[in-house]
């Protein structure tokens, strides 16, 4: 289980995560981005960017 970098809540990540994948924290609602896979690192997704790696 991984922690939200904003509110420290537990965040569920899919079994097959992808770098750049976007998630939403169910506690604080912040949009998160998987910044790295090994180990998995979460960060706040930028508000606006042309290419988020999707």
């Amino acid at each position: 289980m991984h922690k939200c970098p904003v509110c420290d809540a537990e965040v569920a990540i899919s079994e097959d995560p992808v770098e750049g994948e976007l998630l939403e924290c169910q506690e604080c609602g912040v949009e998160l981005e998987i910044l790295a896979l090994g180990p998995i690192t979460l960060g706040e997704a930028p508000d606006a960017e042309e290419d988020w790696g999707e």
Binding site: V6, C7, E27, C28, G29, V30
Partner: protein, 380 residues
């Protein structure tokens, strides 16, 4: 079925309680009283209940025996009639202010007159379930908290339990239904409509409850964990009144400065409390999240509302109209040792009738959400 009666049912809190109890699967409303409207149908004053009940108001003198007597009488009246209530009912739940405080001197200081039945003060359990759940399970006498006190205490309880607050300034914005259903110069439509009126910048009666409860939490914690008190340098004084677990709060010398102001705004139902909490030590947002998450995790009617996006990022009483929820949010000031805690309730629900029904459920070993399992309206 649990037979209940409502004394003083013609006001807004009484009407809201009647709405809840008529739909409650374990309650049967046997009687509703009103001196002024005796003989009239209850739906005459509560038209939203038309078609749901044929109950007529009876005078207090015609109350017969029941299992639970809810009193929604004006302040002072419950204490005058308490002997009749106790003769008629095994359990009494008072929504008024008469038995909220555990200390007769503090009552006189805030209410301007001696308490008529000081000997009973220690027998009532203060009715906020989030504070006194275990005591409520065994209670036969319950004093529901004031609406402004309820929202303020629920907002600040997690921080006081952790002893991280140094001082607090609470500002509540309240709707017109707090003033009751009797007309006055202040409620005349041209005067009240559109008003943003500072009606009690200092000295609000609910401050007595807020101070006693929150300081009591700090003192209880300090007694259990002396090292914490030593760390924060708090001065503690033994309670002036009798010590009673779960009973109405008693007076203590303040361990933390707590101030309270109230402003009437353009709203019928609802309270928004904005609490400026100055911390003993700096805490980041994650630490505050942990404190609030721990305090609220198992509470059926307390929700943390703190979103990073959207238009509903923090508590808003408009979304709680008719519901028993208390929504709490917070934001740490990045430039100061201050956290702003926002909390919202419907004053007639979590601040009165909903709290009473939640306490009723606990007293009878029923599921706490029974008869209260609905959200507020959106849009409203």
């Amino acid at each position: 079925m649990i037979r209940v009666a409502i004394a003083g049912g013609s006001g807004y809190a009484g009407g809201e309680l009647l709405r809840l109890l008529l739909a409650h699967p374990d309650a049967e409303v046997a009687q509703v009283t009103s001196e002024r409207l005796a003989g009239k149908f209850a739906h005459r004053t509560h038209p939203n209940l038309r078609g749901l009940t044929r109950l007529r108001y009876v005078p207090l003198g015609e109350l017969s025996s029941c299992d639970v007597l809810f009193s929604c009488l004006p302040h002072g009246a419950s204490a005058r009639h308490i002997d009749a209530f106790l003769a008629n009912a095994e359990r009494v739940v008072d929504l008024g202010a008469d038995f909220r405080l555990g200390d007769a001197d503090e009552y006189e200081r805030f209410y301007g007159q001696p308490h008529p039945r000081p000997g009973l003060l220690g027998r009532f359990v203060y009715g906020i379930p989030e504070l006194n759940r275990e005591a409520l399970r065994r209670a036969s006498l319950v004093a529901c908290a004031g609406c402004n006190a309820t929202v303020s205490i629920l907002a600040l309880r997690p921080l006081f339990a952790e002893q991280v607050a140094k001082s607090v300034v609470i500002e509540v914005k309240v709707g017109s239904s707090e003033a009751g259903n009797r007309a006055s110069d202040a409620s005349h439509h041209p005067e009240r409509s559109g008003a943003m009126r500072s009606y009690k910048p200092t000295g609000h009666r609910h401050l007595a409850e807020i101070r006693a409860v929150l300081d009591g939490m700090g003192a209880a914690r300090a007694g259990a964990e002396g090292a914490v008190a030593e760390r924060v340098g708090a001065e503690r004084v033994v309670a002036a009144g009798p010590s009673r677990t779960g009973a109405g709060p008693s007076v203590r010398a303040p361990a933390c400065d707590i101030h309270f102001s109230a402003t009437a705004v353009e709203m019928v139902r609802g309270i928004l409390a904005t609490c400026h909490v100055f911390l003993r030590e700096d805490l980041d947002e994650k630490a505050l999240w942990r404190i609030y998450r721990r305090a609220c995790a198992d509470e059926p009617f307390v929700r943390i509302v703190k979103e990073r996006t959207g238009i509903h990022r923090y508590p808003d009483p408009k979304l709680l109209a008719g519901s028993n929820y208390c929504d709490i949010g917070f934001e740490k000031d990045p430039h100061a040792q201050r956290v702003v805690v926002m909390a919202a309730i419907d004053n007639l629900m979590k601040g009165a009738a909903g709290q009473a029904v939640q306490a009723f459920n606990i007293m009878h070993g029923l599921p706490e959400r029974r008869g209260l399992e609905f959200p507020g309206l959106h849009p409203a």
